[in-house]
Structure formats: structure tokens, C-alpha cells
């Protein structure tokens, strides 16, 4: 018996009870739609996290000065003064997995321009900092090594600072005052938004030459941090070990004592974030799958009712020569047609609700072709799985009993 004929018979049988078939399909429609939309939301979130991490750079290591124990009082990160400029040079020289490094020191200060003022982080560093962080300028240019050597009063401002100080006026070329020192604004950073790892506003910053900060503002001679980039994400783990070994050596830390510095590998954070968003996606998919399962049970239920109702028809078909497998195939195909049509509508439903969610709630929704294919296969599988038992039941009917059934 050819499949097209069976599919035609199945369609006719389903059309006979439009209301019932529609309601049964609704279970699958909602199930498949929910899976597609939920996985879309999960993958959208995952992609956003990955993009943020990529923007931050997953090959970056952040070395900061560590904690110190002063007579039983532990001072927290950044309290030691042992991380120095020479450490950075040594890292550049002796850690082979390191590509670039930039020293950093920082303070918080009130910044004034005209009648506006704003409190922000002032980071003192060297020009390669922006390369390490892969952070381009939207306007102006970076300060130079010469500015560092001269301890020039030049500043690069982040988008948040620019907005708060300048509003609509041009910022590059203007002079701002930081702790009553005049600084010429030479560049504006492109906005980076919140950092994926720390969740703070990365654009709320001003970057100036480290020498200017140390000599003219804080008087510090030690570093708060060193920003390091490794050759690749994979090399970052080696770089971490090399830096840790090197710094323990240079700071003469005996085995068994705590480090006086702290190395944070952004690749670790990236992995963690990535894992978290994967778990999130899985969780959403699992919850949505429950509704698909319920839809499948709905199919099974309706197919069982259908088999009972059509006992006589099954008897007729058997009497005129349908084999058990003919009958089984017929009911199985009916269940699969039901679930596939439901799945098809469910895919459209999932796509449109994904579109609505991203349009109305501004959530990132990413519906991949793979998830559509998987949903289609899954709905067919649901039909086969939940249609099997009713179909088997139909095939096992005794033709004599079935013909006598009223």
C-alpha cells in the first residue's frame, strides 16, 4: 500500500474531526513553539555573553596588587605596594606566552568642564592599554609614548564621561580639569557598555598617561594593576602560570606563603559565563520540552479514542485484506501527520513569538536553523512514539470482534 494513499487516508480521517484534531495539534503547536522560542532566548543570551567576552578579550589577564596582612589586619586587594613598573618589564621580557602588557594605576576624582562636573575613575596607563583591551576610539586619537615620557596632561574619555560633561558639544580639543589640573581631551572611546565579567559601566572612565597620574596626582610609585594580553585564549593559561612564577620569584615569596598579587584570567571568566548561559539555554529547553511531552500525551489520548471509535472500520479493512502492519502503519502515519502539522505550525508560532519577544522586550533572540530542524524531527518523533501504542492496539484487534463492534 503506497504511502501517499495512506497519508491521504490519514488526512481525511483527521479532517473528519476538525475540532478535535485542531485541539490535539494545539498541544504540539504550543510545545514546539515554546521549545523554539525558549531555545531562541537562551541562545540569544548565550550569543550576547559571547560577544561581550569577545569584546573584552578572552586572552586577557589582569594582574592586580594583592592583600597584605598587617598585624592580623588583612587589607583587601590592592593594598600592597609591591607591584612595580619593573615587574611589568620582567613580565614582558621573561613570560613567553605574553604578547603585550600595560601598567596601571588609578584614582577617583571629580572632573570639571565648564559648569558641569562628574566623579569618575581616572586610570593611568600607557598607550598599548587600548590595544590590549581591543578598544578603539570613536573620535580623536590615543596619547603617545612621548606623552607618557613627558607626563603630559592629556586625557581620553569614556562615553559616559563624555555624555555627562559635554553633552552635545564637541569634546576633542577641549580642556577639562581633574583635581584642579587642566587636561586636554585627545580622544573619546567607543562605548563598551557593561562588562560581562564585572557588570560595571566600562565607559565611566578617563584614561591618562600613568606618569601624569603618579607624579602629578597620587604620588604613588607602585602599580595597582598590570593588564596583560596573551598570544591566544589557550596561551592565557600558560601566561598565568608564567606570571605567577615570575612574580613570586621577584617578590621573594617563600613557598607556602600567600601571593602578594592576584592574577585574574578572563578566559576563566569567559568559560564560566559561557557555561552559565549554556545551562540557562538547557533549562529553558527542558521546561519547554515538558509542554511538548504533554502535547504528545494528548496525541496518544486522541489516537486511543480514535482507535476505539473506528473499531468497525478497522474490522472492515482487515476483512478485505489489510494486514496487521497495514493497519498499524495507517494509525501511526495518522499520528505522525497530526504531530508534523502541529510541529510545522509550532515552528511558525515559535518564530513569531521569538520575533515578538525581541521586538517588544528587546531581548536578544537567536533562532538557529538547527533548532528548527531539531524541532521538526522531534515532533515527528513525538508522533511515532506516542502513536505507536494506539496503532499497535488497532493492529492487534480481532477482525471478527471488530466487525461486530457497534
Amino acid at each position: 500500500m503506497d504511502v501517499m494513499a495512506i497519508i491521504r487516508i490519514a488526512m481525511r480521517a483527521l479532517a473528519r474531526n476538525k475540532m478535535r484534531s485542531g485541539l490535539t495539534m494545539l498541544g504540539i503547536i504550543i510545545g514546539v513553539g515554546a521549545v523554539i522560542a525558549m531555545v531562541g532566548i537562551g541562545q540569544g543570551a548565550q550569543q550576547q555573553v559571547q560577544q561581550q567576552i569577545a569584546a573584552m578579550g578572552s586572552n586577557i589577564l589582569f594582574v592586580s596588587s594583592g592583600t597584605v596582612n598587617r598585624g592580623g589586619m588583612r587589607m583587601g586587594w590592592g593594598a600592597t605596594k609591591t607591584l612595580v613598573y619593573d615587574d611589568m618589564r620582567a613580565i614582558m621580557r621573561e613570560a613567553p606566552a605574553v604578547r603585550m602588557a600595560a601598567p596601571g594605576s588609578q584614582t577617583t576624582a571629580q572632573v570639571v568642564f565648564g559648569n558641569d562636573n562628574w566623579s569618575t575613575n581616572i586610570n593611568g596607563t600607557e598607550p598599548q592599554y587600548l590595544d590590549i583591551r581591543n578598544w578603539p576610539l570613536q573620535e580623536g586619537s590615543n596619547f603617545t609614548q612621548n606623552d607618557v615620557d613627558m607626563a603630559a596632561n592629556v586625557a581620553i574619555v569614556g562615553e559616559t564621561v563624555r555624555k555627562n560633561l559635554f553633552g552635545a558639544t564637541d569634546s576633542v580639543g577641549q580642556t577639562i580639569r581633574i583635581k584642579s589640573l587642566p587636561f586636554k581631551v585627545v580622544g573619546v572611546l567607543v562605548p563598551k557598555g557593561q562588562s560581562a565579567a564585572m557588570g560595571q559601566d566600562q565607559d565611566d572612565t578617563i584614561i591618562i598617561p600613568i606618569t601624569t597620574l603618579q607624579k602629578k596626582m597620587t604620588g604613588d610609585t607602585w602599580l595597582r594593576w598590570i593588564m596583560v594580553s596573551a598570544d591566544s585564549k589557550e596561551a592565557s593559561y600558560a601566561a598565568q602560570q608564567q606570571i605567577e612564577g615570575l612574580l613570586r620569584d621577584r617578590h621573594r615569596i617563600r613557598p607556602g606563603t600567600d601571593d602578594d598579587f592576584f592574577v585574574r584570567n578572563l578566559a576563566d571568566i569567559a568559560d564560566l559565563q559561557d557555561q552559565a548561559s549554556q545551562v540557562f539555554t538547557l533549562l529553558l529547553a527542558a521546561i519547554a520540552s515538558v509542554s511538548l511531552l504533554v502535547g504528545g500525551i494528548g496525541i496518544m489520548n486522541i489516537m486511543l479514542v480514535s482507535v476505539t471509535e473506528r473499531t468497525r472500520e478497522i474490522g472492515i479493512r482487515m476483512a478485505i485484506g489489510a494486514t496487521e502492519s497495514d493497519v498499524q502503519r495507517q494509525f501511526l502515519i495518522e499520528a505522525v501527520v497530526l504531530s508534523l502539522i502541529g510541529g510545522g505550525i509550532g515552528i511558525l508560532f515559535g518564530l513569531s513569538s521569538g520575533f515578538l519577544i525581541s521586538a517588544l522586550l528587546h531581548w536578544p533572540v537567536l533562532i538557529s536553523p538547527l533548532s528548527i530542524v531539531v524541532a521538526a524531527i522531534f515532533s515527528a518523533a513525538v508522533g511515532i512514539f506516542f502513536g505507536f501504542y494506539p496503532a499497535r492496539k488497532a493492529a492487534r484487534l480481532d477482525p471478527i470482534e471488530a466487525l461486530r463492534y457497534e
Binding site: 494513499a5 481525511r12 474490522g315 472492515i316 476483512a319 478485505i320 485484506g321 502492519s325 477482525p399 466487525l403
Partner: protein, 263 residues
């Protein structure tokens, strides 16, 4: 018009037209209902030859339904042998039995048993679907069969648009479409008024005489049984009498004496 002699017959030289289509040898059928055993058939032997027209009668519980189920390969005998065109059916698997029902047996039921919301043509085609015939052949055969029962002009009608007699004629067409060796009719006139009943018997007589189709029908109406050539009466699971009908009425003539009813 195709003849209804099985093409396979030429492969079996021992089997000649007019020879036995059905041989039943000492068939018993016992149902077990819990502890109790019900003997539905207690040793039935008979033979039905090609182009015979047999009416089977008997009170309810006489075993005639069980006998029909066995003849129709819907059920297997507990013991004994049933040879259909020389093949011992009692040894076949369910799948093979389904094939035999499809190819060698045509069923006509009391309640017509047509599929609703399915046209006369599609209902007639149904057995050819399970016979894996190509599409064109299926439609061709179904039209031929409908023409044989005089319903060529009703092929697109649904059962609900047809009278009881017409529905039963569609059922007969469906039974004939695979050119079976035998037509089994289980109380085919049970749901019909007397004039329509005679019309159905008229069709049976014509199919039997003009085309040589072997017909076995179960009925409890003596006047319907009279249209057959041979009457077998069951009682207590055995054949009580087996007689040739003398002075068999012609359905065509009987119809002339009956008042016509508006269709």
C-alpha cells in the same frame, strides 16, 4: 469485461473449473470461555464447487456464523482442514490469511460496512489498495465492478447519498473488485426491505450464472435461501441437511410481480 476465473488456475493443472473451490474436512471449532469449553463446530465436512450458489441457514448458535468466519479466513479451525483452491488455509499465518482475504474472498455484510465520507468509487477501490495494484488499474477495476452492480453513474456518491440497496450494491462491487474465488455474504438482505432484498438476490443470481462467480450466503430467511442453488442447514455445530433447491425462483421474475417502490 474480465472473466472471474482466477488467472492462477492455469498454474495448477490438477484444478479444473467446476471442481471444488472449498473443501472442508472434519472441522471442529472450540472456544474456551474460562473453564468452560464451547463447541461451536463439531465435525463439519463439505465441499463447494466452482459456480455454486449456496445458502447457509440455521438458528442462532447453530454454528453457521463460526463456519462463515472460518470460510472467510477470519478465524482458524481448532482441528480439521480447510482447503481453499487446494491451499490448506488452516496452516497459514495471520499475514497470509490477510492476503487470502484480500485476493480470494469477497465479503458482503449485513450492515453494508462501507466507509462513511468516502465515495462509492473509493469504497470499491479499497481492497485493490491493499493488493498493491497501480493507481490506474485500481480505478479501472473499481469502475468495472461498479458497472457490474449497475452503479456506474453513482461513483462519486457518498454512502449517505445512497439508498440501502445501493449501498449494498457498492459493497458487492467492493467484494468483487479483486476478482475473488468466492463471494461470502453474511445476511446481505438483513437490513433491506423485501423488494430490495430480491433485487440483491437478482444481482447474485446474475453474477453467479452470467459470470460463474461462486457465492456462499448466510441467511435466516427461507424465501431468500430459495434463490440459491443449494441450501445447507446447520444445527448444534453440525450440518443437518444439505439439499439442492428444486423449482428455484428467478429473482428477475419475482421482481415483476412485486409493486415498484420509488427509489
Amino acid at each position: 469485461m474480465a472473466t472471474f476465473i482466477e488467472p492462477g488456475i492455469t498454474d495448477r493443472p490438477s484444478f479444473i473449473a467446476g471442481e471444488s473451490v472449498i473443501q472442508i474436512v472434519d472441522v471442529h471449532k472450540t472456544y474456551e470461555m474460562g473453564e468452560q469449553k464451547v463447541h461451536a463446530l463439531r465435525g463439519v465436512s463439505t465441499e463447494i464447487r466452482r459456480s455454486e450458489f449456496v445458502a447457509i441457514m440455521g438458528a442462532s448458535g447453530s454454528g453457521k456464523s463460526t463456519f462463515m468466519n472460518i470460510l472467510g479466513c477470519l478465524d482458524k479451525p481448532t482441528s480439521g482442514h480447510y482447503l481453499l483452491e487446494g491451499t490448506d488455509v488452516s496452516e497459514l499465518t495471520k499475514r497470509d490469511l490477510a492476503k487470502i482475504r484480500n485476493q480470494k474472498i469477497g465479503f458482503v455484510f449485513q450492515g453494508f460496512n462501507l466507509l462513511s465520507r468516502t465515495t462509492a468509487l473509493e469504497n470499491t477501490e479499497l481492497p485493490t489498495l491493499y493488493a498493491q495494484l497501480p493507481k490506474e488499474e485500481r480505478a479501472k477495476r473499481a469502475r468495472e465492478a461498479l458497472a457490474m452492480v449497475g452503479l456506474a453513474d453513482r461513483e462519486d456518491h457518498f454512502p449517505s447519498q445512497l439508498s440501502g440497496g445501493q449501498q449494498q450494491r457498492v459493497a458487492i462491487a467492493r467484494a468483487l473488485v479483486n476478482r475473488p474465488a468466492i463471494l461470502l455474504a453474511d445476511e446481505p438482505t438483513g437490513n433491506l426491505d423485501s423488494r430490495t432484498s430480491v433485487e440483491i438476490m437478482d444481482i447474485f443470481q446474475k453474477l453467479n450464472e452470467e459470470r460463474g462467480i461462486t457465492i456462499v450466503l448466510v441467511t435466516h430467511e427461507t424465501d431468500i435461501a430459495q434463490f440459491a442453488k443449494r441450501n445447507i442447514i446447520f444445527r448444534d455445530g453440525k450440518i443437518k441437511t444439505d439439499t439442492t433447491v428444486a423449482n428455484r425462483p428467478r429473482a428477475t421474475e419475482v421482481l415483476r410481480t412485486m409493486p415498484t417502490v420509488e427509489d
